[in-house]
């Protein structure tokens, strides 16, 4: 990567951060869209769409979008390939397809993959399409820059990622804490967990993701917010990844406390897909504290609306010193067109249909994320949910990871390093020092520094 590219990335990240506040405001009170039906023309043929879904929220909207495209262009048939597998497995399968040349036209993966996919030449820049799409003006600039890589827009997001520190009001009250608990600082999370452990030994106090089993959650729901809470950064101003640093050592010490004193169960690093059990346990009150994606609330809400509203509280992530709390934001799962697609115009028509204000609003009301396009917030199902309004407002306090190609490799280093300390294989300082080596193994020694 040359310096110019690095500069571009840093700028776009900075811009992303600056504009994230604006995103929330625009999303909350944006004007309604008139929409823009495309003209007919010679769009025809088959569009192969592939996407993963285990929760079951998306299929009916994908079918709606496919039907809408077919209605508008009778010569277009959308061939839907729904994969009921987890996102990581889907991504690996997709990469094998993309590298072999047997490509789908449209696919749906994390927005954080934009850099790696664009560098590989797998995805089509969408600038020429969005130039002729009036709805693009509904997307706040912060959202646009989140899907922009090296000056080009590569993906269309539907809902933005944000995270909450969820807590069970009933469990905390049993431990003598208030129902409207808000931790004063990072230590406050561990203190609350210790209080729960002392008061109710049969309830898991706190789930702090670690190791490869935690998947990307180990980074986005645990290590990264803790690093920021302790005043650390993932990268320095020149774009080098920071290994051992005072903040990294504090994060590792936090892990050592959470796991060493039995506040977080070791099964998080040994179970397969531990988040399935952890989300379920917070939903039924067997787990007291969990920092997780905002979308996770949807599972609890649809299973038991009244119980969830009564017992599940959510707050922003605290910092070490009690400074402004924050959340971790991200572009969410996005829609892409494969660079080798043989039917890009029809593929774009599907993406447009899938991202209409109506579908975006309704889908995000069910699969709760702040909407990516502002006018979708007016869809009644979305506007009437207190939780979604709160989540959208929380974006004002969001920090974003940089859309760099190497972030996914860095996640692997974070998984290895946190597993070492959570399993007790290494102490906090030693694990922090090994994190430097873990980073070097993943991204190369020349892109790693220490502080």
């Amino acid at each position: 990567m040359n310096e110019l590219q690095l500069l571009n990335q840093t700028l776009s990240r900075r811009r992303f951060l600056q504009l994230s506040a604006a995103a929330a405001l625009v999303a909350a009170c944006g004007p309604a869209s008139g929409g823009s039906p495309s003209s007919g023309g010679a769009i025809s043929g088959t569009v192969n769409v592939t996407y993963p879904d285990q929760a079951g929220f998306k299929p009916k909207y994908v079918q709606q979008a496919a039907a809408a495209v077919h209605q508008q262009f009778s010569g277009v048939n959308v061939n839907i390939d729904l994969q009921k597998i987890d996102d990581d497995s889907f991504y690996t399968k997709l990469l094998l397809r993309l590298s072999s040349g047997d490509v789908p036209d449209v696919f749906h993966v994390a927005g954080t993959s934009i850099g790696a996919l664009a560098d590989a030449g797998y995805i089509e820049p969408l600038d020429s399409y969005i130039g002729a799409w009036s709805d693009w003006s509904q997307y706040p600039d912060a959202v646009k820059s989140g899907v922009t890589y090296q000056g080009k827009v590569y993906a269309i997001p539907y809902g933005l990622d944000m995270r909450w520190l969820y807590y069970r009001k009933d469990d905390l009250q049993k431990a003598g804490l208030p129902a409207d608990w808000t931790p004063a600082n990072v230590q406050g999370i561990l203190d609350a967990a210790a209080a729960v452990k002392a008061a109710t030994p049969n309830i898991l106090p706190y789930a702090l993701y670690a190791g490869p089993a935690g998947s990307s959650g180990t980074a986005d729901h645990a290590f990264v917010p803790l690093l920021w809470a302790y005043g650390g950064e993932l990268q320095d101003s020149s774009g080098k990844w920071i290994g051992d640093s005072p903040a990294t050592r504090k994060v590792m010490a936090y892990y050592a406390k959470a796991y060493g004193s039995g506040l977080s169960p070791k099964t998080i690093i040994t179970a397969t897909q531990p988040w399935v059990a952890m989300r379920q346990k917070l939903g039924n009150g067997q787990l007291a504290l969990l920092f997780e994606g905002g979308w996770v609330y949807g599972g609890w809400d649809s299973a038991n609306k009244a119980g969830t509203e009564q017992n599940v509280g959510y707050v922003l992530h605290p910092t070490e010193t009690g400074g402004p709390s924050f959340t971790v934001g991200g572009p969410g799962t996005c829609w892409y067109i494969a660079a080798k697609s043989k039917n890009k115009p029809a593929a774009w028509e599907f993406i447009k249909a899938m991202n209409s204000a109506q579908i975006v609003g309704s889908l995000n009301a069910e699969d709760p994320h702040p909407v990516a396009r502002a006018d979708a917030a007016n869809v009644p199902a979305f506007a009437s949910s207190k939780y979604l309004v709160d989540s959208t407002a929380a974006l004002k306090s969001a920090r974003f990871t940089a859309p760099t190609a190497d972030y996914q490799k860095v996640i692997l280093a974070i998984q290895t390093a946190t597993a070492r300390v959570a399993s007790g294989a290494l102490g906090a300082d030693a694990a922090s020092q090994r994190y430097t080596d873990d980073l070097k193994q993943q991204v190369g020694a020349d892109k790693v520094t220490t502080q």
Partner: protein, 299 residues
């Protein structure tokens, strides 16, 4: 001379024709991929990122990286423990013991023989991934049948894979692979003529002496081959561990084949993953050569 060679070719033509389909398949599915891995190990080939767009030769960079990899020593050590624990001590010794017992049971016409035989065989006929999930369903901390059963008895759940991860995967792999060794030895035992034993018995030899002086020497050639086969197969296995612990916690069960898989399909570094596979292949090959020489010298 020429006429002689030609007639020998004519004589062997049938053998060559019979062997060639197998040779072709072996070349296609074993030699081909091995050569491809060797080729890839000298490239920066990747599934995603800038290297996916610009694959190029990097010489020995991947090998240099591997020998500076701080985790590689642990991965090798894990592999050795896993092979000795599950292949040599587990599958081989247990398989031999089971074969001796079953052979004895057959000579005595015990009825339970076929039940034991099929019970052991059942572990082997399952596809590996299903066998893996079977044990996960038993050992899973939250919903595994063992912990649910313990819960009904009023006992706390046990973190089976967290307390002793390497022992867990060794037990499961032993359970799975013992049948193969047992079958081979059972076949070999049945070729030993029973009059040898009768003669020994007449001479007043004890059961242990009969085993030591007669059974064991007659099993030696097949034992060498079996040991080689299970050792090499176990060294290259990873699906079972992937299903059980996925190498964790904190690399405690990460064996070399799994490490190659993780580098190739989680870090998407095909070149580096291939390098690990090539090193694995070389270690296996070296072991096979040394072992075959040694067993031939002893025979």
């Amino acid at each position: 001379m020429i006429a002689g060679r030609r007639s020998s070719f004519r004589r062997n033509r049938l053998y060559v024709a019979g062997l060639s389909p197998a040779a072709l398949l072996l070349a296609l599915f074993f030699v081909g991929p091995a050569l491809w891995a060797l080729f890839s190990s000298f490239t920066n080939s990747a599934l995603v990122g800038i290297d996916a767009a610009n694959p190029r030769f990097v010489g020995f960079d991947n090998y240099v990286r591997l020998f500076h990899d701080p985790d590689f020593a642990q991965v090798i050590l894990n592999s050795v423990v896993f092979v000795i624990g599950s292949a040599v001590i587990g599958q081989f010794v247990l398989g031999l013991a089971l074969a001796l017992l079953l052979d004895h049971a057959e000579r005595r016409r015990f009825r339970a023989r076929s039940f034991v035989y099929f019970a052991v065989l059942l572990a082997w006929v399952n596809p590996t991934i299903i066998a893996g999930f079977l044990w996960v369903a038993m050992f899973d901390f939250y919903s595994g049948s063992l912990n649910v059963a313990l819960g009904h008895l009023g006992l706390g759940p046990v973190d089976w894979f967290g307390q002793a991860p390497m022992l867990s995967v060794i037990i499961v792999n032993t359970w799975r692979g013992t049948a193969f060794v047992m079958l081979i030895f059972l076949g070999a035992l049945q070729t030993i003529p029973s009059d040898i034993y009768e003669a020994a018995r007449v001479d007043g030899a004890s059961a242990f002496r009969r085993f030591w002086d007669h059974t064991l020497p007659m099993l030696r050639p097949i034992a060498a081959l079996t040991l080689l086969s299970v050792t090499m197969a176990t060294f290259g296995t990873f699906i079972l561990i992937q299903a059980l612990t996925n190498g964790g916690p904190a690399l405690q069960t990460e064996v070399i084949a799994l490490y190659a898989f993780h580098q190739a399909f989680e870090a998407y570094a095909i070149g580096y993953g291939s390098t690990i596979a090539v090193v694995m292949l070389s270690l296996n090959l070296a072991f096979a050569i040394v072992f075959l020489r040694w067993s031939r010298a002893r025979a």
